[in-house]
């Protein structure tokens, strides 16, 4: 499904992603962990095409389609979704309207017939209930005055409605209490149908107790430095990232 090969990305001429290679197959869940500043969020932004995140080298395809040539909205229509670490507040634009315009745009991008208003409303209400947000949140401004946890749940609601092929969840667990974490995890698990894939970016093993990953990768200094199964997350939880320093030393020695 997603194939990323030797991806390099920079912000204002600072190289952040330095040769990232990752392959995600249909239905898989990959967790990306790593210390602060490793480039985890940059990876999400670069892949979705945010301005000022320049891809300097490498390739990324989704079901064979070259993502890097596409506009931000075309990548979304191609099936890419990013759940933001810090969702943006947009006062004056109701959540409902935002969701409707998004769904309409993506369906039209995928050559699907537009949903009738009543169909859409039904789906929106059900998604809203699923992430345990009161229906009144559909009428409020996008993320306006939402708590941190409500914002994260709103991201998952969007994911449920947009039905992306590949979702990148950027620290969707940060700042959540255990109940909210379960709601977010359940929202994601409900969407696991063996076809749709997920990249879960997180600092903590905790989320992975609820969302079982197939693979765990450690991102450090813009590269994946270690990959393994779920047990790798447990290892990181107990040992932290200090071993990376020795890893770096070893790497340097190897280069010498």
């Amino acid at each position: 499904m997603l194939k990323i090969n030797d991806l390099h990305a920079s912000i204002a001429d600072n190289d952040i992603i330095k040769g990232l290679t990752l392959s995600v197959k249909a239905g898989e869940v990959h967790a990306i962990m790593g210390p602060n500043g490793a480039g985890k969020s940059t990876f999400g932004y670069a892949l979705t095409g945010r301005d000022n995140y320049e891809i300097t080298q490498g390739s990324a395809t989704l079901d064979g389609q070259d993502l890097l040539d596409l506009e931000v909205e075309e990548r979304a229509a191609a099936g890419l979704f990013l759940a933001f670490q810090y969702p943006v507040e947009i006062p004056g634009v109701s959540n409902m309207e935002f969701l409707k315009v998004s769904v309409d745009a993506q369906r039209s991008g995928r050559n699907l017939a537009a949903l009738s208003s009543s169909d859409f409303l039904k789906r929106a209400k059900s998604a809203c209930k699923q992430v345990n947000l009161p229906l009144s949140f559909l009428k409020r401004g996008v993320n306006e005055g939402f708590s941190g946890g409500e914002k994260k749940r709103n991201e998952i609601m969007q994911m449920i409605l947009l039905e992306p092929k590949l979702s990148i969840l950027d620290e969707s667990d940060s700042g959540l209490d255990i109940d909210a974490l379960k709601v977010v995890a359940d929202g994601i698990n409900s969407q696991r149908d063996g076809k749709r894939s997920y990249i879960v970016i997180t600092h903590y093993q905790r989320l992975l107790d609820y969302i079982k990953p197939d693979f765990v990768h450690v991102l450090a200094d813009g590269k994946i430095v270690k990959s393994g199964g779920p047990e790798l997350a447990l290892e990181l939880e107990s040992e932290g990232y200090s071993w990376l320093e020795s890893y770096d030393r070893n790497a340097q020695e190897e280069n010498v």
Binding site: P91, G92, A105, Q158
Partner: protein
């Protein structure tokens, strides 16, 4: 002297009605006033030579309705080219409300007294309106009366018309009412439309001015409010620009504990111009005023906002806020915004801010990442910027009517 002004003065000299004793001083002042030009501070960014240049043909009398506002269920006062249309207007009035055409106001001594009492003399076209407005309406709300039905003053204009209308309203003590001034028409015409509102102690006025003349229209007017003790005003101004659109708003707090909110939306496109001069006078202590002015300008349009707050020496404990936010959608659009604070009391809180920005790129990316094209996202964001103030409107019929109109206007805007 300008030809147009000379002619207006000649016409004014012919006017002879019950308001004539009040018109005299304005006419005298008008004769002494120079025709405003770019050196006139109040007209610095708004050229009015178009009035000189324009040759007004005889008015086209094809009736031009203003748009219906569904579910408003209003008491309608309908004007066409400045002339009251009794037939199209509502005749049955609820208890506590009396309305008459300006021309029939001779018996109302309060109206004669209050004519020109609230509107400051400095407004040049206000003087013209003083001298020439023989049409309009007089609205009187009895003390304690709560008029649930909004009173809509709907003015339509057709090409060639020149008209001058005046609204005089008295809201008795503890009374409550909603007034909607709706002006509409895009043809070349000229009108001055001024309104004076006397809001007695503890009274509450919810006010809308839908200044939606566009295209070639030349529309100049003002709303002037006099606030008694513990009275409340919530005023909303929607400005669509036209060849020349100017509104002056004066909110005069003359009782303690009065509270005024003014929310303003401008939406300008093409070569349209809209100029708002607001002046908040706090003459007594413990007053609150809040202004939110939001403006979107596209293409080569021109927005002007001059916001004055004047806090008098003895007006302590005033809370005055003025916030002006502007969104520029094109490099050729222009915004001139100027706060003017004159504060003589020492124990007040007065905040003001003005920003001119382009679209928020973070929000833009968020929307695009959900599959929304840049153009559609721009429309959504611009609409949201304005809709925040629409959401604050008390009257949901007006808000619901306005939203699709605003959305349509955005959709047509030139985005660069």
């Amino acid at each position: 002297m300008s030809n147009w002004l000379a002619q207006a003065i000649t016409e004014a000299e012919q006017v002879n009605d019950w308001l004539s004793p009040k018109r005299e001083s304005s006419l005298a002042l008008l004769k002494k006033s120079p025709w405003p030009n770019r050196q006139t501070e109040a007209w610095k960014y708004t050229p009015i030579n178009v009035i000189e240049r324009t040759k007004f043909e005889p008015a086209n009398d094809t009736f031009h309705h203003t748009s219906d506002i569904p579910n408003l269920n209003a008491i309608d006062l309908v004007f066409f080219n400045g002339i009251f249309d009794a037939q199209a207007s509502t005749s049955a009035l609820p208890a506590g409300l009396s309305i008459s055409a300006l021309a029939d106001g001779a018996s109302q001594t309060w109206a004669l007294e209050s004519f020109n009492k609230i509107k400051p003399k400095r407004h040049f076209f206000g003087l013209i309106n003083d001298a020439l407005a023989t049409q309009g309406c007089i609205i009187d709300v009895a003390c304690g009366a709560v008029i649930e039905q909004p009173i809509r003053i709907a003015q339509g204009f057709s090409s060639g018309s020149q008209s001058h209308t005046r609204v005089l309203m008295r809201l008795g003590e503890s009374a409550k009412a909603v007034v909607v001034e709706q002006l509409q028409g895009d043809a070349l015409c000229l009108n001055t439309s001024f309104a004076e509102y006397q809001i007695a102690d503890k009274a509450h006025l919810e006010h809308y001015r839908l200044a939606m003349q566009s295209g070639e229209a030349i529309s100049i007017g003002g709303c002037h409010f006099h606030l008694g003790e513990a009275s409340q005003l919530e005023s909303n101004l929607i400005g669509f620009g036209s060849q020349l659109s100017r509104v002056d708003m004066d909110i005069i707090h003359s009782g303690e504990h009065s509270n005024a909110k003014l929310n303003v939306i401008y939406l300008l496109d093409g070569k349209e111009l809209f100029d708002l001069h607001s002046a908040i006078e706090h003459t007594k202590p413990n007053g609150v005023s809040e202004q939110n002015v939001r403006c979107i300008v596209a293409d080569r349009a021109n927005a002007i906002f001059n916001g004055r707050i004047h806090i008098h020496r003895d007006a302590q404990k005033i809370l005055a806020q003025m916030n002006n936010r502007n969104l520029l959608l094109s490099e050729n659009a222009q915004i001139n915004t100027k706060p003017e604070l004159e504060i003589y009391a020492d124990d007040v809180r007065c905040a003001h801010g003005a920003t001119i920005a382009q679209i928020d790129e973070e929000a833009m990316f968020y929307l695009q990442s959900r599959g929304i094209s840049r153009v559609d996202a721009q429309v959504l964001l611009s609409f949201g910027f304005i809709n925040e103030l629409v959401d604050l409107m008390n009257n949901s019929a007006i808000a619901d009517w306005l939203r699709p109109i605003l959305r349509q206007r955005f959709a047509n805007m030139e985005i660069q």
